[in-house]
């Protein structure tokens, strides 16, 4: 069965800390995505990657960076966490031509920055 695993369900960090959110998929998918989910705003794309070491900015990349050193792992990095980055973060993966089920999601990481 398809599986996207986010390493932490809940995280609490302090303002200014460097934060790593990890995501691993076991489906050999080329594409991986990071979204943040906020009430009333739906899901907004932060970054995505279509291959190892490749990355592209999404709609709200400011304050974030990503790393994809291996195909199965896609990390989201908050260089200096701020309170406005308190949110639910969702990782997803897909194959380039998988319109049948374009995105497979993890269960999310709820990050609180205090």
């Amino acid at each position: 069965d398809v599986k996207v695993t986010q390493s932490s369900r809940y995280l609490v960090k302090r303002t200014g800390e460097k934060v790593f959110l990890e995501c691993v998929q076991d489906m050999d998918h080329e594409n991986m995505f990071w979204y943040r989910q906020d009430p009333g705003l739906g899901l907004r794309l932060i970054y995505f990657s279509y291959d190892v070491k490749m990355k592209e900015k999404g709609d709200i990349p400011e304050g974030y960076s990503v790393s994809r050193e291996k195909k199965e792992r896609f990390s989201l990095i908050l260089e200096s966490a701020s309170t406005n980055q308190t949110s639910m973060y969702l990782c997803a993966s897909s194959t380039p031509s998988s319109y049948n089920s374009p995105l497979h999601f993890g269960n999310g990481t709820r990050l609180t920055v205090t």
Binding site: G42, L43, Y50, G58, L90, S94, P102, L103
Partner: protein
């Protein structure tokens, strides 16, 4: 660019009643259309999709949606809801591109609450 508007942020209905969740989109190119569901404390799951062909598409759990090109809408319906349908529902579009990572653009979400 694409945008998606879900017209209702919250929809309360009684169990066994019908429900319609509304979705309108805007795009300068042709798109694929999707509905996803998010149950409490879970990620999103695909409910149904419109790629081409018949404008009425059926999904899991008894849901269906109708694509209306002239009104740029993709409303989700279920004739009789169950308590277990309580969840947040997201409409999304994806531009029809030949290559590259397909990026979904999501609406704001509609929280469906089923009351006994």
């Amino acid at each position: 660019a694409q945008s998606v508007t879900q017209l209702d942020s919250q929809v309360p209905v009684f169990e066994e009643a019908p429900v319609e969740l509304r979705c309108n989109y805007s795009s300068s190119v042709s798109v694929y259309l999707f509905w996803y569901v998010q149950y409490p404390n879970q990620g999103l799951q695909l409910l149904l999709k419109y790629l081409s062909g018949s404008t009425l598409v059926k999904g899991i759990n008894g849901f269906e949606a109708e694509f209306n090109k002239s009104q740029t809408s993709f409303h989700l319906r279920k004739p009789s809801v169950h308590i277990s349908d309580t969840a947040e529902y997201f409409c999304a579009v994806m531009p029809r591109l030949n290559q590259g990572a397909q990026k979904l653009v999501f609406g704001q979400g509609t929280r469906l609450t089923i009351n006994p």
